[in-house]
Symmetry: C2
């Protein structure tokens, strides 16, 4: 099983949309796929019709009862080959509860290891904040996807994200390959095209060579609770994620 995490401390850049759309594409291609929601706000969990405040068994249980069998925490979706490990609101208290207790950074990694025979891919949707949950995702994943809106403030935020990343990977002595995914690209505005040029010139080999364009169909898809890649495979946004998936599956880093 390959584990991909989708993270960025900036909010609203398309993390959940990236996890859901790529998850839908992997499932449609016949790969057994698990979506893991570690955001206490539970957008991915709501997307598939579950309510984060009603979830009793999910990611939080992994931290509370470390011996629990992760396979009993998994819920189905309406789509073949696509299952979900849901979030619950209780996750919001995790940082305070754990405090400076050490050794909590590998809880998710160990749980996904136990599940690795059942899935081909696991995609982790992260909250927009640096904390014990994001550290768990970075420690558990083989590859990191960083969606970045093509606009000025988001580029500033990316610098901070990359500095945080190298801080964490250095302290854990791991090398974590990552791909920057330009999202919500609006070719009509100068701010968007200039931000993209800056992103491509500063991060060359770490940036995906194309973009996810602005596509209002994403909003329609989230209302239906269907990944856009399944609802409208020919929509601009779905086609873009399909191209991204081709690049990731061909081994971006020669994985």
């Amino acid at each position: 099983m390959k584990v991909w995490a989708v993270a960025n401390q900036k909010g609203g850049v398309g993390k959940t949309t990236t996890a859901v759309t790529l998850g839908g594409l992997l499932a449609a291609r016949g790969y057994k796929t698990l979506l893991v929601d570690i955001d206490p706000h539970g957008s991915l969990t709501s997307y598939f019709g579950y309510s984060a405040d009603a979830v009793e068994r999910g990611v939080y249980t992994l931290f509370q009862h470390r011996e629990s069998d992760p396979s009993i925490l998994i819920s189905p979706t309406r789509f073949d080959n696509l299952q979900i490990l849901p979030a619950s609101m209780a996750l919001a208290t995790l940082d305070r509860q754990l405090g400076t207790q050490s050794g909590m950074g590998l809880v998710l990694h160990k749980a996904l290891k136990q599940l690795s025979g059942r899935y081909d891919y696991a995609l982790i949707d992260c909250p927009p904040v640096l904390g014990v949950l994001m550290v768990n995702a970075l420690a558990a994943c083989d590859h990191l996807l960083i969606p970045v809106q093509t606009e000025f403030l988001a580029l500033k935020g990316l610098e901070r994200m990359l500095r945080t990343l190298s801080m964490i990977t250095r302290s854990r002595n791991i090398k974590l390959p990552f791909t920057i995914v330009p999202t919500m690209f609006d070719r009509r505005t100068r701010a968007s095209t200039e931000a993209l040029q800056q992103l491509q010139s500063e991060h060359q080999s770490d940036v995906w060579s194309s973009v996810v364009p602005i596509d209002t169909k994403f909003r329609e898809a989230s209302r239906e609770g269907v990944p856009l890649s399944i609802m409208l495979p020919q929509a601009r946004g779905a086609v873009a994620y399909n191209q991204l998936l081709d690049v990731l599956l061909s081994g971006v880093d020669g994985e």
Copy 2:
């Protein structure tokens, strides 16, 4: 001094944009305004040209040295009547550091009380996560603004936010008036107009009667580091926030 907090656990809904644009309008109208950035990611701090990882004196200092005089933590902006209490990345560690230590919910409230003679308004920009920082903002403010994107997932997130809010205000025995601000409204898409109708029918008196439309000029303004309300007062987005400000100043709750 009146204190307004801008909060929503959902990321990317326009919290920073709301704080910056309203702050610019208040300053232009001659009100002495303080913008307070309690988001560890520091979008508001970067907006005005400071770097959250370089900030030495800011909101974090209030929690580390509770006796410190808050007035020495304030930085200027290029705009008359507009100053900023910046964020720093160290804020990300606050939840873990404080752990279950009690009594940390009123640090910001006490600091703003000490500053109340110097400003007419203080606007607090919150991170997209429920934690000790957001609790501080809710305890410090007189009025809460909740920007909500007019789309399905965001409405689901709003229910959770309002449940969290009533949980916190009940435990502190305070009544906190709030206004829901529909943002990024796109009149061309059904998902947007239906979401707005749902928002208005479910939350009647708590929702502002108008909307902030989608306006790509916000991206241009953030690149220039100028509030849109100052850069282009006639831009759609700026005009909308000006109307919102009129409603807020006329005492939404008869404050």
